[in-house]
Symmetry: C2
Amino acid sequence: MSSANAIHIADAAADGKGKAATVAKPTRFKGGWRRGLAIFDFILRLFAIAAALAAAAAMGTTDQTLPFFTQFFQFKASYDDLPALTFFVIGNAIAGGYLVISLPFSIISIVRPYAVAPRSLLFIFDTIMVALTTGAASSAAAIVYLAHKGNSSANWIAICQQFNDFCQQTSGAVVASFIAAVIFILLIVMSASALRKS
Amino acid sequence: MSSANAIHIADAAADGKGKAATVAKPTRFKGGWRRGLAIFDFILRLFAIAAALAAAAAMGTTDQTLPFFTQFFQFKASYDDLPALTFFVIGNAIAGGYLVISLPFSIISIVRPYAVAPRSLLFIFDTIMVALTTGAASSAAAIVYLAHKGNSSANWIAICQQFNDFCQQTSGAVVASFIAAVIFILLIVMSASALRKS
């Protein structure tokens, strides 16, 4: 900023009458660039809402009861049997709820491309949400992988032969949550470039 | 920036001779603030290196062989028996390696507090590393939790009664990795405030 500032000031000082024109022109150009980024931010947030809420809903509705009897005690697989999957539903629901609340702030960024406060606020919460959605998706992925493959060392059996629908639905939910996490990373990088000086 | 800029220009235009003084003073003040942040960034990176490499090392050296025989086929617990823990070691090793490489860029930010390129580069990679370390820590946490508690619905037994040392070491590694992830989030927020216009 210092060098750009100095140039503007030198211009303005050199040509006192042309001051307004010299300053207004780059400002409008930069505003347009920032506004375009803010609109893209808003659209990405809509996709992220869809991904996060779809992930939470898909995981939250997994509830498969087997029609036959086996040697196992339990015949019913539900997300709330596994703490990692419960965390997944809560994490994605929080991310989805946050995204809905963030939409007005994103609109403020479109209307006022130079406002620093709403972008900074979104930036900090977006960063926390990257950690939340990635954490939720990863822990659920570890459990879903285990459900698919099992682990002979720990003597954990694969349960996907019995609970096929359960495994398909949870796998889809994990993918949706990772999509939400990637969108959050894009939002952060975009916010940072909109916030940066130049 | 527009309003601050306008004020500087108005000042400079109004008082042509006092121009150099008006501009130089806030510049030096802001440089000091940014430099302080860059030094803190460097120190935090050192802590993050310690946390990430400690996590990778602690997890990578877990290898417990039981001195007695049980009804299970396997008597040896190692991180590479579980894909989530292997991912944990790789993820934290990558994060630690990246942090070591990032130190020179952090030093450039201390020397040149206004340089945008090194900070932007660090910012983007830090964001990716938040996702990587959080993902690695979360998936390992899901598996370690399962090892501690087991799960009756899926008929997965807790293995920590047998593999006590293994469980303690992996739990410590997970905590270290979460500390690295929190430091990365701090680094991102600090980079963004150093990069932002004001």
